[in-house]
């Protein structure tokens, strides 16, 4: 097996990159340990946004693209640019390189480099996930759970940050400087992440798993998405959404959620005032209560 794979790599040093397409300003370079560039075949579902409008989720798009790749080595790499150096000499089908989405300083969405056989052995990506960072995290975890081994790359350099994280907000100033579309996007990413995390626990991907979500899980997904989205957008505790009638803070319909004018007004003028007041109140209690 090991020899066979090595021979293949010598004959066909090519990898398929699935992610954003390169453009004039960005390029992705993949090299071996000697710095020799490896030819790259780009397969992309981003850019046009077609996978979103047609209702195809990210994992489904990846699963559809992998069979189209001519190479046996697949790189899931969301960035349009970067540098990856891997040690081709040691790579076999039961080894893979990658990085989980990071909640640390760099907020990376994660990446994955693996053999097509390994990808097929874990039944590909989870087709129901919306969160890009969880897509990689899940795939990587299932590879490990199958007994395949994660090895570090020789070098990895990525530039694009991903807002798809729990700790995407770093401070009040960041909250204050956000525009409405940015805030909606961020809230959507956070809601996708939370709802997908719950989905992964209740509906993990596997050989006998159905790609259709049972109605009880669909309701659960929508409930978590609704609570997280509005909480993140309007800086409200989830208890508020549980107290208020559901139509005030609706769940997404066909992947769309349309905030009302009064919500936009609250976001623009009141969200930070109430939050600052709460912060002030906490400080006062802290001082009064002896710290």
């Amino acid at each position: 097996m090991r020899e066979g794979v090595r021979e293949l790599m010598v004959m066909k040093p090519c990898i398929a990159v699935i992610g954003l397409p390169p453009d004039a300003d960005h390029s992705l370079e993949v090299c071996d340990a000697n710095g020799v560039a490896i030819s790259v075949e780009h397969l992309s579902f981003w850019g046009s946004g077609a996978w979103m409008t047609e209702g195809t989720l990210l994992g489904q798009a990846v699963n559809q693209l992998v069979p189209e790749a001519t190479s046996d080595w697949i790189l899931l790499w969301g960035n349009p640019s970067g540098l990856l150096v891997v040690d081709w000499a040691v790579m076999t089908a039961d080894l893979f390189c990658g990085e989980r989405s990071s909640a640390g300083g760099n907020n990376s969405a994660g990446w994955l480099f693996l053999h097509r056989q390994a990808f097929e052995a874990v039944n590909g990506c989870h087709p129901l996930l919306r969160s890009p960072s969880l897509l990689i995290t899940d795939c990587l975890g299932r590879l490990e759970a199958q007994g395949m081994r994660l090895i570090p790359p020789l070098h990895c350099d990525r530039s694009l940050h991903c807002p798809d994280q729990r700790n995407a907000i770093k401070g009040m100033s960041q909250l204050a400087s956000m525009t409405w579309p940015q805030a909606v996007d961020l809230a959507r990413c956070v809601a996708d992440l939370e709802a997908d995390a719950a989905l992964l626990v209740s509906h993990p991907w596997g050989p006998a798993q159905t790609a259709a979500l049972p109605s009880s899980l669909q309701r659960k997904w929508l409930r978590i998405w609704r609570l997280t989205f509005w909480s993140a957008l309007l800086l409200l505790p989830e208890r508020i959404m549980k107290t208020c009638p559901e139509p005030w803070f609706p769940a997404p319909h066909q992947d769309m959620v349309k905030p009302q004018p009064w919500q936009r007004f609250y976001w623009r003028w009141l969200r930070l005032v109430v939050s600052q007041l709460e912060r002030l109140l906490l400080s006062v209690f802290r001082l009064a209560g002896g710290g």
Binding site: I169, H203, G206, A208, P237, I240, Y266, F285, A288, G290
Partner: protein, 322 residues
């Protein structure tokens, strides 16, 4: 080989176990199967005494000593892998079979799992063949304390094509109790709104972190489980180096999640706002809890309600105005 092993683990929940164990025995004896009731004492402060359990060779008591914290996953894995029956039944210390008849147990196929009713307090209980349990690697051993272990196990079984059948609510009886007992926390604040809120927030924080551990580190039969060594006195002890641990990055992420979830639930602080507050204001989970201070308690009683009311009134007025 025995046909059925009922496995119950217990850490300081003797008051429940002593009520349910005789009922389990009465039920199992009427099945017409060769059975055992395996009780695992997970380092209870006061060890469970064999003479306090129903008499008879079918009841086995195993003690695991040296465990500081409750870990349902590791405790049940220990019990289930020690069990000698072809079929395993997990029954928590507060549960007993009530209207689960022998026909349902006999009719259980190899690819089927019987599971307690959801939202009935018995959803963590199940009956399945030992082979199925072993094939998915048992419970996820990175999960700490309470929560998510049953959902994770069921989901992994379903992902391999196992048919999970939910039992009617009356099939299993449950002794209802507080969140404090679920998180194996000594009730130190008496029974009040404050202590209830504290325990609920604690429980939610453990569940949330466990959910994230499942996402980041999916479990399977390929993962290595804790191994145990039996001492001369008969008690078992975990081989410390074999206990699965999360990576440093994951451990720190889980700690952050517990902290965020606990405080935002307890004091009703929006999660995004909490992330902007100074870290020193709110403690992290250690052996004794999250370090709730006097000012947190004061805020819980008044400031929290004020902020909640202010937000609600603002939203109502605003909605009406538009």
């Amino acid at each position: 080989m025995l046909e059925l092993s009922v496995v119950t683990v217990c850490m300081n929940r003797q008051q429940h176990l002593l009520q349910t164990a005789p009922k389990v025995q009465a039920w199992a004896a009427g099945l017409g199967l060769a059975w055992e009731h395996l009780v695992v004492d997970w380092s209870s402060d006061v060890p469970i005494q064999r003479e306090h359990l129903p008499p008879g060779a079918s009841v086995r008591l195993l003690r695991v000593s040296g465990e500081q914290h409750w870990s349902a996953s590791r405790a049940y894995n220990f019990g289930c892998f020690q069990a000698q029956g072809e079929r395993l039944m997990r029954l928590d210390a507060d549960c007993w079979p009530q209207e689960l008849n022998a026909r349902m147990v006999h009719a259980l196929a190899k690819h089927q799992v019987l599971q307690g009713a959801v939202n009935g307090g018995s959803e963590g209980s199940w009956l399945m063949s030992k082979g199925l349990f072993q094939a998915v690697g048992g419970f996820h051993e990175l999960l700490q304390g309470y929560g998510c272990d049953d959902i994770d196990l069921r989901a992994r079984l379903q992902a391999t094509g196992v048919d999970v059948i939910t039992l009617p609510k009356q099939a299993l009886g449950v002794i209802h109790h507080s969140s404090a007992m679920r998180v194996a926390k000594p009730v130190s604040h008496g029974h009040s709104g404050f202590s209830d809120a504290l325990n609920r927030a604690w429980k939610d924080a453990l569940v949330e972190a466990n959910r994230w551990a499942v996402v980041q580190h999916p479990w399977s039969s390929q993962r290595s489980r804790t191994t145990y060594i039996q001492s001369l006195l008969g008690a078992w002890e975990a081989n410390v180096s074999s206990i699965p641990l999360p990576s440093n990055a994951l451990a720190s992420e889980l700690q952050d999640i517990r902290r965020l979830c606990f405080w935002s639930t307890f004091l009703l602080i929006p999660a995004r706002l909490f992330q902007t507050l100074p870290r020193s204001w709110f403690g992290e989970l250690d052996g004794d809890g999250f370090g709730v201070r006097r000012w947190h308690r004061l805020y819980w009683h008044s400031g929290r309600r004020f902020c909640l009311g202010l937000r609600l009134i603002t939203l109502k007025l605003l909605r009406r105005a538009f």
